[in-house]
Symmetry: D2
Subunit: 268 residues, 4 copies
């Protein structure tokens, strides 16, 4: 039905993506999104940790070209399957820029990260999951963001103050993005965040721990406003951190919606 | 490239779905899933309520036929666009059976339902969302399930007992499916569920309400185990209810996972 | 257990949120997130349309104050329950700024929007859902973004070119954010986006329509790169549109990940 | 404010969960839901594979007892952190029954599983993710279900037949649950499912592969009805498989909803 298609095609398959485009529109980012891949990341205690990432890889596309060769992203990923860490991120970005002759490369890697925690009194050990994300951009400049999502307990100062007994409390999520100089451990930032809420949360708690956390949270009531401010105060003390964005969300136990606070700041 | 395709095809398009299949395998359910549609449902206070549903419609397919005519489901839906209620559900199912010459028809309609609630002390009014689902099956028998998802507050009896001050509490979700005779109002079942937890939750609460709820929850501590038992006790009192399945899930404020309880019972 | 708590508390409940804070940290945004509410929006054909929104409302909080009075957001929402439209958005934002004595107010309203579409040949009518979002910010300046998510069909130009028969195609999602002057209809922007892909998608298609769409898509192959460029070309023609951000994502039928393209541009 | 609370409490903390309940309601399942944990599973090619699971663990609770000791679930999980496989599943269930003095134990483990696949022509290797779930129940009987979710490509037979060129196709998801005797490899069931659709999908495809898949899918058109029947025919050939439930869902490229088929059968 289509003449050109009756020609032998297996020898040379036309490269449509490489052909010219005449709309004169540069594309900022083009690539593959949310590809799932097992990776190894650095771990402060055990040196490395196996995890599973959702990965997005983009480059810019100048207006002259019709398309991008998407399979090359996967090839680069395969070459680095063993390890995607804060340390080799720049190399992957460089390879992307080069392989695509691009002026900008973007790499986003999101993964669950596990830390062993000891319960506050019984010292029972268990693993807690934290969501992490690395975002790197390489053009003539380079940029790298570390993002962490840390579940915490928050207890409402207003509820405590006005009530004769008890105080509503709930799980909340603190999301922190930061830029830094040198190297920071995920573990240290998570600890900083957990100490900025009414209490950390744990996978395994015995009764003595539950008593401790209940009372500790009652003694440290915090609004979402307090949480973002405390995290800001504490990140300010880490000199390597140069910029941060903090979000706190409470899954309110008395409402069916969230309380939310947000701030973004250069480190002073 | 394909001879038959050069024939004029617009006059009579071949009906592939209606052709025979030779694998001798009946299909239990085939149809459309998760189509989104605005509908009107019954409302105890305002007579009717506009909402937006995710709808799935299936019929069985005897082994002789290759496929189903999917567009007919949408046509039936269009004919009932104005109203999908507990009352006209049997008519839609009958129409499905007839239009497809099927021996069984399945209809699932999931939608957010809003109720106006008054805060416990200030009586401030606001709207709360509850997720509802109707599931109907019509063969030579008929079956209808009503499912409701109700957010509640639960306060931990253990934490209260062992702690010198405070008690951890959290938002939880109670999911109830039930079969009944005659007619039941969504509103009445929701009220029954909300009264079976440490406290209902609300969209709008003033300080006097927050004080009341905090203290009321502290005075009514409940495990997920207590919640499913209380709901069971209370549903048992509603004579129209003939069968129920109850799930309670707590988004624990001290953990990053849920506590969960489940029971299923014929009404005695 | 706490002296102050034995005082009569019901007459005057202390306002913790209004008390001073000494950390000297301004909060950029604080408020309620993802509250669900039924609203009415403008509709080009039927004047208005009932839908259900997820709403977030934030204000800034100066460093002197400890917290925000979250219930006021819900009160403002209640006062406007009848209607949240492009036209009265500025009024709600003004009310937020005033009620909170804030210097900036943020309002985000996300909702499903339905349009009646006619199938291309049979002209059979059905409803299609599009996700919409309004985002408004009012400080000393004002900003308003309209965001639309439009499902489309894309057919791969490379697959078509290199294959002797067929071409892989898939559902994709085009997400467009735009700033504009005056007033634009959601319907017009959606139409512009749908015309920029290999084909629109529909809820109800008869066989004649399915034939038409299959052939039409085959005749209009498009990469994600083509889609964002076509949308850009077409939005450029709408003089009211002053700025746009376009994302196209293909749920590739030959992969388990997405192809993605993104561009952001001031209108020239 | 509460007399009993001024007593020294740290020495012996009261065990509320172990106290009696008087509502005479047995609970079918109670435990922890969706706890995230890194595990190791069996791998046909590499012997074992690191992955990350969402785990739910439940036991029944007789009517005499008020609650369950949730922390014991996590302790059991910790003892088996190294390995959760089809082979040691019965041991974990036995331990749960014993530790809780329960008559029934339930264990659900859901995890992403990766397989290396070779592209059909270029033989380029890449990893593909499949979602897997193990569900085990141990009472006086034992039951084990293996569930696999396999993305595939489906091409519409009707669209191909009625159209002069092209045919709409899309990614779909096939979900298979099965009971079996002896031992089956995940890899073998996945292969069986992939061969029952118009084509498998891949992470990495070169142009020669894309041509092959496009043409292969065009030559093997399948409705969702065909997919569930083909999977049924092929599972019937595996003698170890004793029961199966098959669901196929197409994310239709011409619609914004899914086509769906379902069947459940004992193996004959």
């Amino acid at each position: 039905m289509n003449k050109k298609k009756s020609l032998p095609k297996n020898d040379i398959l036309r490269d449509i993506q490489g052909e010219p485009d005449y709309r004169h529109i540069n594309i900022d980012k083009v690539g593959v999104k949310d590809i799932r891949y097992p990776i190894v990341v650095l771990d402060k205690k055990n040196k490395f940790q196996h995890t599973i990432a959702s990965i997005s890889m983009y480059v810019d596309l100048p207006h002259q070209f019709k398309g991008t060769h998407m399979s090359r992203f996967i090839e680069i990923l395969n070459e680095h399957r063993g390890e995607v860490t804060i340390k080799n991120f720049p190399d992957i970005l460089k390879k992307m820029k080069k392989r695509f002759s691009a002026s900008t490369a973007h790499l986003e890697v999101e993964f669950p990260y596990f830390m062993e925690k000891s319960a506050p009194v019984s010292k029972s050990k268990s693993l807690m999951e934290y969501k992490c994300k690395y975002t790197g951009i390489l053009s003539d400049k380079k940029d790298f963001l570390l993002e962490l999502m840390v579940p915490v307990l928050t207890l409402c100062p207003c509820s405590k103050e006005i009530s004769e007994r008890g105080a509503h409390n709930q799980r909340g999520l603190v999301k922190v993005s930061l830029r830094f100089e040198g190297f920071v451990w995920i573990e240290d930032i998570i600890k900083t965040i957990e100490e900025s809420a009414s209490s950390p949360v744990y996978s395994l708690l015995k009764r003595v721990d539950e008593k401790f956390i209940t009372e500790h949270a009652y003694d440290n009531p915090m609004f979402v406003e307090d949480v973002v401010r405390e995290v800001a105060v504490n990140l300010n003390k880490i000199k390597k951190v140069k910029w941060f964005r903090i979000e706190a969300e409470n899954w309110e136990s008395i409402h069916n919606h969230s309380a939310y606070a947000f701030l973004e700041r250069k480190n002073s």
